[in-house]
Amino acid sequence: MEGSPSCKDQTGRRHEAAGVVAFVKDYMGFLLPADLNLLWTIGAMLVAVLGLMLLSGLTLALSYTPDASLAFGSVEALERRMPSGWLLRSLHMTGASFFMAALYLHVFRGLYYGSYRAPRRGLWLIGSALLVMVMVTAFAGYVLPWGQMSYWGADVAGKAVGAVPVIGSLLERVFLGGDAPGTPTLHRMFVLHFTLAFSIVGAVVLHVAVLHARGSSSPSGPQGETPARMLPFYPYFTIKDTLGVVVMALLFTMVMCFWPGLITEPANYRPANPLHTPADIEPEWYFLPFYGMLQAVPSKFGGLLVSAGAVVVLFCVPWLDRGPGWTGPKSGMRWLAWLAMSVLVASFVLAGLAGSHHVQGVWLLVGRLATVGYYAYFLGFLPFYAKLANWGERA
C-alpha cells in the first residue's frame, strides 16, 4: 500500500502515500470514550449491511427489468435460474430488514443517550436525513418485484400523497406517472432506489466525517468524553465493532437461511393484479408503526401528517430537548428517562402491531394510544423533563 522506494517519482509517491497513511493513522487513532457499550457497535453493523446491499443490489439490477409486464417474471427468472440469483436476492431482502432494524436501534440509542445534544446537532440532523433516505429507498425497492403487495403498496402510497391539499393530485400523478401504478411508476422507483442508494453512501461518509470532527458521545455523558477516559479506535473499538458485525452476520444467516418466513411477505409472490385488491394491504414490518399511525387518524390528510410527522419530529429533537440530560453520575432523572424511553419504544411497537391488524375496534384504540404515546415523548417529555425533575428534587 505504501509507496515503494524503487519508483522513479519517489518524492511524489511518498507524499501521496504519506497522505493516505496519515489519514489511516488519524482514523485509527481516533479517540473514543472507553465506556461505549454494545449499542455503539450498531453503526459498524449498518456500514457492513450497507456495503452488502450495494453489492447485491448492483448485481441484481443486472437482470432486473423495470416494466409492469416483465418485472415479476424477471425477478422470478433471476431467483430461479440466474447463477446464485436466489442467494443475491435473499441477501438483499434480508439486508433490507436488518438495515431498518439496526437503524431503528441506532436512532433509539441516540435518543436515549442524548447523542443529539450540542456539539452533535449536525450529526443528528444528517442521521435523521439518512433515516428518511433509507426509508424512501426501502419503499422504492419493495415496489420493484411487482408482486401484489408491491403494486398495492404503491397504490396506497400514491393515494396518501394525493391526500395533500391543493397539490395532492398533481403530486400523485408525478409519483405514479399516471392514474394508477404501472410501468412509469416502476421506472421512477428503480431510478429512485438506485440514486438514493448512492446518495446514502455519500451521506454516511458525511455522517462519519462529522462524527470524527465532533467526537463520539458517551453513555455516561460529558464526563465520559474527557481525554483521560478515552481509548483509540484501533485496536479497542475495531475489535469490538468486528465482533458486533460477526454476531449480526450470524443472526442474519439464521434468518436468511433457516427462518426466511420472518421477513418475507407471501402475498408478494403473487404477480401484481390491478383488478384484485388483497384483503389485507400491509407494508413491510419496518413501516408498520407509521402505517398504524396513518390509520389511527380518521382524516386521510391528518393521518399523513401524523405519520410523516413521526419522522419529521426527529429533526426537531435537538431543539425540543431543553434539559441538561440524565446521563450524569448522580442524576436522579435516570429512572424518568428510562420510563419515558420505555413508553416511546412500547408505543412504537404497539403502533406497529396496530398497523398489522385491521385498524378498528380494539386496534383502533391501541393505534391511537400508541400515537399519543409516541408524540408524548417528543412534545410532552423532552421539553419539560428538566422542570419536572427540579420539581421532583424540591419535593
Binding site: V246, Y269, H276
Partner: protein
C-alpha cells in the same frame, strides 16, 4: 398477471359457491354438524414433510414422483408459468433426462403460412407451457373458474403445503382433527367411497379445505392415476403427498441449497465469533475498569 386474475376469480367463484354449499348443506342435511355453518376453510392437519423446519430437506424421489403426478394430472388445467424445463434439473435429473422429459411436451411455435398455430416438441430452455391460451379459455373450459398457476402455490396459498395436501385428499370428508398422521382424510374417500358427497354439478365439489367448502376442481387424484417408475404404490394419498412435495419444491427450489449454506456459514461464524471474543478480552484486559 393472469395467474392472479385466475386465482382471484377462482376465489370469487368459490365464495359464490359458498352460498350454494350453505344451501345444500342445510337443505339436504348431508353436511356434518359445524361444517356447513362455518364456511371458513377447515384447519388442515399438520403433516410431517421432509422439507419442514429450518433443517429439513426435500425428498427428491418424492419430488420426482410428484412431477409425474403434476405432468399426468394437474398440468391439464394448471400451469407452472415461471418454471423452465431446465429448472427441473434441481430435482436430481441429468441434462439428458431433462431433454427427454421436455420432448414429451408440446409448446406453441408461432404461426404457419395459413396463420394456424404451430406446435413443436419442447426444449430444456422452454418454459412449461400454459394449459390454456388465456383466462377466457380457461374459464370456458372449467365452468367459470380459472385454475390458478402453481409456480409459487405453497408459498401464496394460506395454509401452505398442509392445506394443499388436505385439499387434494379432503373431498367429501368432514374436516379431520387428527394431526401428525399422514392418513388423515384418506385417499379412499377420493377414490369414490362417498360419491354422493363428492358429486360435482353446478355448485362445485364439497371440500372442507376450500374457501366456502366448495371448489371448482373435480377430485383430481385416484388410485393408479399415474405409474411411478420407482415401484411406489400409486395410491391417491401417495400421489397427493408426492405432488405436494413437488409443488413445495417448485415454490422454493433453492431452499435446500440455502439451508446447507446456512449451516456452513453459521458454524464458521460461531467459530469466528469465539475467536473474536477471546481476542477482544485480551485486548481489553489492559484497560482499567
Amino acid at each position: 398477471m393472469t395467474g392472479t386474475q385466475v386465482l382471484s376469480s377462482s376465489i370469487a367463484q368459490a365464495r359464490k359457491w359458498g352460498g350454494v354449499a350453505l344451501l345444500l348443506g342445510v337443505g339436504l342435511g348431508h353436511g356434518p354438524a359445524g361444517w356447513a355453518q362455518s364456511l371458513a376453510p377447515a384447519q388442515a392437519p399438520v403433516q410431517n414433510w421432509s422439507f419442514k423446519g429450518p433443517l429439513g430437506h426435500f425428498d427428491l424421489a418424492a419430488v420426482q414422483r410428484g412431477y409425474a403426478v403434476f405432468a399426468g394430472v394437474c398440468a391439464s388445467c394448471h400451469g407452472l408459468t415461471q418454471v423452465h424445463f431446465s429448472d427441473l434439473a434441481g430435482m436430481g435429473l441429468t441434462s439428458e433426462q431433462i431433454a427427454a422429459l421436455a420432448e414429451a411436451w408440446q409448446v406453441p411455435d408461432g404461426l404457419d403460412a395459413e396463420g394456424r398455430l404451430k406446435h413443436r416438441k419442447a426444449q430444456p430452455d422452454d418454459a412449461l407451457p400454459e394449459p390454456y391460451p388465456n383466462a377466457q379459455a380457461a374459464r370456458a373450459a372449467n365452468r367459470g373458474a380459472v385454475p390458478p398457476d402453481l409456480s409459487r402455490i405453497t408459498q401464496v396459498y394460506p395454509g401452505g403445503p398442509d392445506r394443499v395436501f388436505a385439499l387434494l385428499t379432503g373431498y367429501g370428508a368432514p374436516p379431520s382433527h387428527q394431526s401428525g398422521t399422514g392418513s388423515a382424510a384418506g385417499g379412499g374417500l377420493v377414490g369414490g367411497a362417498h360419491p354422493a358427497a363428492v358429486a360435482g354439478g353446478e355448485g362445485g365439489f364439497a371440500n372442507p379445505y376450500a374457501i366456502g367448502h366448495r371448489t371448482a376442481m373435480p377430485p383430481p387424484l385416484r388410485d393408479g392415476a399415474v405409474v411411478f417408475t420407482d415401484g411406489t404404490q400409486a395410491t391417491a394419498e401417495q400421489e397427493a403427498r408426492d405432488v405436494t412435495t413437488f409443488l413445495a419444491w417448485v415454490s422454493n427450489p433453492h431452499a435446500d441449497s440455502k439451508r446447507r449454506l446456512g449451516v456452513g456459514v453459521a458454524l464458521y461464524l460461531c467459530f469466528l465469533a469465539t475467536l473474536l471474543v477471546i481476542l477482544k478480552r485480551r485486548i481489553w484486559s489492559h484497560v482499567r475498569k
